[in-house]
């Protein structure tokens, strides 16, 4: 069952490995840090290792709102 406010789309902002960095537009990806890559990525981006989220956070919807405004 889909969680409340949870987007099934693939975005960094709903991946298991994300923490917020510049809310809501950038997130910090622990996986990338461990691979010695730049861990700061766009919320609305995603990489090949995207992992379905267990976090019902607002990152993606807020980032989308911001993108629309811009």
């Amino acid at each position: 069952m889909e969680k409340e406010g949870f987007s099934q789309e693939k975005f960094c902002g709903n991946c298991d490995n994300h923490n917020t960095y510049n809310y809501p537009d950038q997130v910090f990806c622990t996986l990338r840090l461990l691979q010695n890559k730049n861990p700061i990525v766009e919320t609305l981006w995603h990489c090949a290792e995207w992992i379905p989220s267990t976090q019902g956070c607002y990152c993606v919807q807020e980032a989308k709102k911001n993108k629309t405004k811009k």
Binding site: N19, T20, Y23
Partner: protein, 339 residues
């Protein structure tokens, strides 16, 4: 034999507030009453003043509970800068919150009555009625990973005590209001006996788990035992002010015991109770049974919120000492730290 008249010596003088009062004037009114929390608070001020005026006393501050994010950061940094605290023993978390602000983060006034799941969705952490944005933790973690790399490279595999570790952190932070920075500049030891039980531990996980990392930060908790005991052993007298209790309080008390001295002065501010057997609520009388505090020590336990009590104690004592008061801690005069 104690006679009846010996017991009824000093009548309660009722608190008078006629017009404006300074903090110390109010505390002296509390002293006149001598009763309940007011009496204990005024006694705590007297004891801290005596600690500071005693040139042979090394003053420890044991810090537990989230007082740094709650607003005590500058107060503690100032006490270190003004040489009114000689050694700090803290939870890792309090110093983490100092580091968060040192790298540009903030703590926000919040409310205890809030939808915590809403906070979760917005990536905001709650400490009772304080809010901390997740990104302020993450930005600090990111910075710490780089700092750990730099410390590891500079020390080439050498193990550091938590005191050395906090100085290394302070050396790499530029915020003049930071506890870590001020401690580094004044060569005031900060011991973190449970350093890994905080965001410092999580930052280590990030630092150590990266692919191909070859130089790792090493912090040796047992080195602390030697260093803190040595400070106690070589200080003619030792005093402690405890905010909360827990591991920081026991670290100071154990060092006092290990140095075969026991504490000469003790002020404990707590809201915990003795009946659970936990250290934070244990009475100073109980501490005497272990030999950690001397029987004849100048000691008091103040039951109350440290966020209210401790600033009052500091304000009162600074007023008593006056602007001309200067103090060089015994550990600095005698170069006990070998710096």
């Amino acid at each position: 034999m104690v006679e009846r008249k010996d017991i009824l010596q000093e009548p309660v003088k009722h608190i008078k507030i006629n017009g404006e009062l300074t903090v110390d004037q109010l505390i002296r009114q509390f002293s006149n009453s001598g009763s309940f929390g007011a009496g204990r608070l005024s006694a705590a001020c007297n004891i801290y003043e005596r600690m500071l005026r005693d040139e042979e006393c090394t003053v420890f501050l044991a810090l537990a509970g989230a007082v740094v994010p709650a607003g005590m950061r500058s107060l503690i940094a100032d006490l270190i800068r003004e040489r009114l605290i000689d050694v700090v023993v803290s939870t890792g978390a309090n110093i983490v919150h100092d580091a968060i602000e040192a790298v540009g983060g903030h703590h926000y006034k919040g409310h205890w009555k809030v939808d915590d799941y809403l906070l979760y969705k917005y990536h905001i952490y709650r400490i009772y009625d304080i809010f901390v944005p997740e990104e302020d933790f993450i930005k600090m973690d990111h910075k710490l990973v780089k700092i750990y790399d730099s410390i590891a490279a500079e020390n080439e595999g050498k193990s550091l005590s938590s005191k050395d570790f906090t100085w290394e952190l302070g050396k790499r932070l530029n915020d003049p209001e930071s506890i870590l920075r001020v401690a580094y500049e004044t060569k005031t030891p900060i011991f973190l006996p449970a350093v890994r039980d905080s965001e410092f531990g999580y930052a280590y996980l990030l630092h150590a788990s990266r692919k191909n990392v070859n130089k790792l930060l090493k912090v040796d908790a047992f080195k602390d035992v030697l260093e803190i005991t040595e400070i106690c052993k070589r200080s003619p007298k030792i005093g402690m002010i405890v905010i909360g209790g827990g591991v920081p309080r026991n670290t100071v008390q154990s060092a006092a015991l290990a140095s075969k001295k026991g504490l000469d002065y003790a002020v404990v501010i707590t809201m915990d109770r003795a009946e659970t057997g936990g250290l934070s609520g244990s009475t100073l009388a109980e501490t005497v049974s272990w030999g950690k505090v001397k029987e004849k020590a100048d000691k008091i336990m103040v039951i109350g919120d440290a966020m209210i009590i401790f600033p009052l104690i500091v304000a009162s004592v600074i007023e008593r000492l006056g602007e001309k008061f200067e103090r060089t801690p015994y550990i600095q005069r005698e170069n006990l730290l070998g710096t």
